[in-house]
């Protein structure tokens, strides 16, 4: 692959949306509504990209006549988060989710049953409803096409361009033909999803429950642009079956009240209403030398099994085929619960710090979706991403009415050129995925679910050494490999942030999201505050504490 002149193409747009998933599509709709020229760049094919690839089975929204009031919904977002949430954003989310539900209906998503009612799932959450979301992403992308919004597929952002503390666009890479692109944008919205590829996964590094294309590029891009991040010490843990390992619809399992039993079919716990509770139980059982644990599907009614299957068909249809492939009959067979798996940074809790207008701390930059911090309510990821995506697009479009394009920072441009061309020009180097495996092993061995200070310090030392020794020996023979190299750099950055923030927070908070064996209790007196991460002008990673956001309105 030849190294082209950098760059091959320059595009000008008002609002650049990086990531064409739930948040990105709704950001684009909102900006388009206000007359902005919008460009979406998407690393894959937009039709099925991101975590909505195969659909979603539920959403949570406030409506006094359908679910619960805005205030009640906002309380359910804030109360479980032990302070790690912005109450103002929580209220905005609660207030505006239903508007996005109406927008989904307008674009053809079937939110209601055939008789016009909305099916509630109060057991999962007081504001939860079930809907037929299998074709959600298809309807969204049909709307993108209908509006003739410019979409550039198979293209990822590699760095945001910054001119005098303002984001003025991005350098992008086409992951198929290797061409580089400079997109000049008056405002940029980051909607690239969470940071998932941080820990080892059994089987293959991409066998995640969620879309593994989400390597944290948006978080890394925001960091290098000088934006503030927070909550990077918190992580998500998932619980799933051991066979087949690919299985979604955990919410549907709990809705169906599938009992959790041991090998002798004795119940292990009474009511498990949240995945977090189940994760805690699995961990405690393992530490007590007990296990294995099973979901006792034969113990539930046939009607519940049918409802479960319906939910799975909306979220991950192929999971039912996998069950059949493995000869598992839910009417007769228990399904073993796998070990706990670390998913990466806690989506909607750790990530880019945004204000009420979804602005990051650098001018011209907005963010929404799994990569923003202090939103809470992980179980409503899709609708939260759409709601804040809409908001980001709206405020980005308003902002660009008043301004022109920024200037190119030539030094930054040249630095990025050097960074991206280096692996292309290097022969016989390491493969990006091999080095990624090393990083993820370090995180699993030295950080993991139960964090210990000295282990994490050793992990940080190894991470730094690994980066220093090997990153500049990675080669990329194809544009696809260059994509993996860019992701690898993001993973290194995020791993460093996660270790440093976890070390700094000398307490445990939010259950398994941040559990320190050496500081096992919550310490509100010293640690009911945020840890803010920012890249300093000299390049160093700075961490400092800050008070929690204050609630501005009474509700």
């Amino acid at each position: 692959m030849s190294s082209p002149d950098f760059t091959d193409q320059i595009i000008e747009t008002d609002v650049l949306v990086i990531g064409g998933g739930a948040g990105g599509c709704f950001a684009a709709f909102a900006a388009d509504d206000l007359g902005a020229d919008v460009t979406i760049i998407e690393k894959a094919a937009i039709r099925r990209s991101g975590n909505l690839a195969t659909g979603v089975d539920d959403a949570r929204f406030a409506h006094p006549e359908i679910t619960i009031s805005v205030e009640e919904f906002a309380r359910t977002i804030v109360e479980p988060m032990e302070g790690m949430v912005d109450p103002n954003l929580a209220y905005i989310l609660a207030r505006e989710c239903y508007d996005r539900v109406r927008e989904l209906e307008r674009i053809g998503v079937k939110m209601r049953e055939d008789d016009g009612t909305i099916k509630r799932f109060p057991k999962r959450h007081p504001a939860a409803v079930w809907f037929r979301g299998a074709d959600l992403k298809l309807k969204m992308t049909d709307e993108v096409r209908r509006r003739k919004i410019r979409v550039i597929q198979y293209t990822m952002g590699t760095r945001l361009l910054v001119d005098r503390n303002r984001v003025v666009g991005a350098i992008c890479l086409n992951i198929r033909d290797g061409k580089f692109m400079h997109i000049k944008a008056k405002a940029t919205v980051l909607t690239t999803g969470g940071a998932l590829r941080l820990y080892s996964v059994k089987g293959s590094p991409f066998l995640h429950h969620q879309c593994p294309a989400c390597a944290g590029d948006g978080i890394a891009m925001a960091y290098h642009a000088g934006a503030e991040l927070t909550g990077m010490e918190f992580q998500n843990i998932s619980v799933g079956p051991s066979n087949p390992r690919i299985f979604s619809a955990l919410g549907a399992v709990m809705d169906a009240d599938v009992p959790v039993v041991d090998a002798r079919r004795q119940p292990v716990a009474k009511a498990i209403t949240k995945g977090a509770n189940l994760a805690q139980i699995v961990l405690e059982q393992a530490k007590a030398g007990k296990g294995p644990l099973f979901w006792d599907f034969p113990a539930i009614s046939e009607e519940s099994r049918i409802q479960f299957a319906r939910a799975a068909m909306n979220e991950r249809p192929i999971s039912l085929k996998y069950l059949k492939q493995e000869g598992i009959d839910l009417g007769k067979d228990r399904v073993e619960i796998a070990h706990l798996e670390l998913e990466g940074i806690a989506s909607h809790t750790g990530g880019i710090l945004i204000d009420d207008e979804c602005r990051a701390s650098v001018e011209g930059l907005y963010a929404a979706g799994d990569e923003v911090a202090l939103i809470g309510l992980r179980g409503n990821s899709a609708l939260s991403a759409m709601t804040l995506g809409h908001r980001a697009g709206r405020f980005a479009a308003k902002h660009v009415k008043r301004i022109g394009h920024g200037n190119l920072n030539r030094q930054q441009f040249q630095e990025e050129r050097q960074r991206l061309l280096a692996p292309l020009n290097r022969e016989n180097g390491f493969e990006p995925l091999d080095l990624e495996e090393k990083v993820r092993n370090i995180m699993t061995d030295y950080c993991g679910i139960e964090k210990v200070g000295e282990k994490m310090e050793r992990g940080l030392e190894l991470l730094s050494r690994t980066r220093g020794k090997y990153l500049n020996q990675v080669s990329a023979k194809t544009p696809h490999q260059l994509m993996r190299f860019v992701e690898l750099c993001s993973i290194f950055d995020i791993a460093e942030m996660h270790l440093k923030a976890s070390l700094m927070r000398q307490e445990s908070r939010l259950g398994l999201m941040h559990l320190r064996i050496d500081f096992p209790s919550r310490d509100d007196q010293n640690w009911k505050k945020l840890i803010i991460i920012r890249k300093l002008p000299g390049g160093n990673m700075n961490l400092e504490t800050r008070n929690l956001p204050e609630k501005r309105e009474r509700w």
Binding site: A44, Y154, S204, P205, L207, R245, I246, I318, H480
Partner: protein, 46 residues
């Protein structure tokens, strides 16, 4: 995840990056010729 490519000599779609698949099953849903049959890899089966 862009795991598919195209073999120009054979004029067929190929799985270029099987190790990067997350077995979401979208390819099976989307293939207009219904030519894709996804099976879980051995590592995650009993």
């Amino acid at each position: 995840m862009d795991v598919f490519g195209f073999d120009k000599d054979q004029q067929v779609a190929v799985v270029l990056y099987p190790d990067e698949c997350w077995y979401c099953g979208v390819c099976e849903l989307e293939c207009p010729e219904q030519a894709v049959d996804v099976r879980l890899p051995l590592q995650v089966r009993d």
